[in-house]
Symmetry: C2
Subunit: 370 residues, 2 copies
């Protein structure tokens, strides 16, 4: 008998949070013509970030600075907090895993919304936490229901994304601030703001960086157009930030990613340009959807979640028909959110492909369902 896995590992399923588009392309035997399913930023990174990374390639023989010193300080300055409030990690995904590992004993409850970010659930399961979910309400996460669940379960960890993925909806900053204020002293709110830079002003709340009840998560993967470098960060109370040192992979952030992220922070003008392009793309996705009788949800992100107007099986058929037509898209995983498909803000040429593919996909989805 080979070495035994832990009892916890034995219980874990072999499923993965997401299947990558490359995997699908290999299975299909042909590439997608529109890569608009993973909420990537098709408009790319700042030219300054790209140049910094290209220059950094020749320095890749060195380990990274394990303290992420320069990047942490630049992030702290950009957010008007101290470096002691900043933790740089291997993407929000990596940070979520570390937070769960720091706080959750096997069997302890963790609260999220039914249909919210699957990678968070993956980490909760991976450390033996007991996931407690509350439903979305009108396609938004429900802060009061999340708080009620925290109290009822005496949970020490709760997750919310604002703006939300996969729905693209959002709460104004005041509502999130109210949620933080109402958090029990001995619990932590993970506030995932991966899409914050796409949102209207007044969505990201001002927070007390000494408040141990909330950890704000940001990333270079979305508005900064750097999903491939795996750099995210957390903003929170120093005691929690410092605790990451106990378990993190100290040389785990790659050196080229550090260089790219640092240059990206130094080019805020790029974010302005990206935001304009995303707004334009968002509007066009909405128009394409409406033209074919579908209902785009309002979005504060770089994707538009589109209500297909029937049940999950129908939306799944629309999705599959789009994929067959070389359009990589994804959809929410659970009812009633799964009546929608999620379409990313692609390049104009990609939305041309979408526009051409959608009518046929809808006909096919309707006919297959009869």
């Amino acid at each position: 008998m080979p070495a035994r896995f832990t009892a916890l590992v034995e219980t874990l399923p072999a499923t993965v949070p997401f299947v990558g588009p490359e995997t699908q392309e290999r299975a299909r035997g042909k590439p997608f013509r529109a890569r608009i399913g993973a909420n990537e930023n098709a408009f790319g990174a700042s030219p300054e970030a790209i140049a910094a990374m290209a220059a950094g390639a020749a320095e890749a023989w060195k380990y990274c600075d394990p303290e992420n010193h320069d990047l942490e300080r630049a992030i702290a300055a950009a957010h008007g907090v101290a470096p002691e409030n900043i933790f740089v990690g291997e993407g929000i995904d990596g940070i979520l895993g570390l937070v769960v590992r720091l706080l959750i004993e096997p069997g302890q409850p963790v609260v999220s919304s039914l249909g919210a970010y699957p990678t968070f659930n993956f980490h909760v399961a991976g450390f033996g936490g007991r996931l407690v979910t509350v439903p979305y309400r009108d396609d938004r996460e429900d802060p009061q229901a999340l708080l009620d669940a925290v109290r009822r379960e005496r949970a020490s960890l709760v997750y919310i994304a604002n703006p939300d993925n996969p729905m693209g909806t959002w709460w104004p900053a005041a509502e999130i601030a109210r949620m933080v204020d109402a958090m029990p002293d001995d619990a932590l709110l993970l506030l995932d703001e991966a899409y914050a830079e796409f949102a209207p002003d007044g969505v990201s709340p001002r927070l007390d960086p000494a408040d141990p009840r909330v950890l704000r998560l940001r990333t270079f993967s979305k508005a900064h157009g750097l999903a491939g470098i795996r750099v995210g960060y957390a903003i929170g109370a120093p005691a929690l930030i410092k605790a990451f040192d106990k378990i993190r992979n100290h040389f785990g952030v790659n050196r080229i990613g550090q260089a790219g992220a640092l240059a990206a922070i130094g080019d805020p003008g790029h974010l302005v340009r990206v935001r304009e392009k995303v707004e334009f793309s968002r509007a066009r996705i909405g128009a394409i959807a409406q033209q074919h009788g579908l209902a785009p949800l309002p979005s504060a992100t770089n994707f538009v979640t589109v209500d297909c107007g029937r049940d999950g099986a129908y939306a799944r058929r629309v999705l599959n028909a789009l994929i067959e037509r070389d359009v990589f898209v994804r959809m929410p995983g659970v009812p009633p959110l799964d009546r929608c498909i999620r379409i990313g803000c692609g390049l104009p040429a990609e939305l041309d492909v979408l526009e051409q593919a959608l009518p046929g996909a809808l006909v096919e989805a309707a006919s297959r369902g009869e």
Copy 2:
């Protein structure tokens, strides 16, 4: 009271496995002139890898392929095994953490050598394992003593590095093969071959890739000159390889790193050139050491561990005096290994700095100790 850390996290010290040279430079207020302390490859990566990474910078808006498909296949082909035998992870450091997490319940014994790789110990502690160590013997890890400890403790996990870090010594392949053969069926040998490409022929054993008792670890950080990209891999039995999927950070390997590693595999000639330069540098470090009455240990790595001839306190003084003279070096952490300092195979100009600095450092170390 803020959210509580797990009982295990509360017991973990805040120490880090290594302090980076950048941290030391900031504390010193000036840069090192010789960066020869972290076993990096000063001769750099393959020009093809650098070009691939530079080209990849513009594609960094995309997530990586979470299956590492192309890289896994290239690695499998290079080693003559199946892709099902290959796991690509975030450096050997990251893979070590995942293995411990897969196999070790809190309190379970894990065997290593006293003074071996601290990051492995960090992960064992981080998942609550009980580290059991056996001493080095004649500056080499002691396979029989490690096996004896596995049997005595009924341990399911044991670590050995061949060639060894921090001593640079090695066992011939036959000895490692014997160790694998003698492993209990229900235990796993982690065979860390980070430095294998620097070793003479006949050091890396032929292994049965279906044998569940051994997991071979390799990296792009050393001979490939890509420490900054965080890509390592494991070769082992499919059931273990597949289990990583249950807990890994699926999009955690960065896209530029994938491109660099893939190109590096395609340029084996670069390894030949690096190896020549390392051999030359190793010989020169040995000569410099001997010239000043120190005893270089034989090395199968890209560093030379140098016996300073007295106790750990003396070697520590030599080390500190070198650091004061702008030479970044490190040393083993425990007796009797800590009578040595560890000097990396730097560029000729860096060894010039070493050569100039060493006499004064030795004088200072001797005088301070009186």
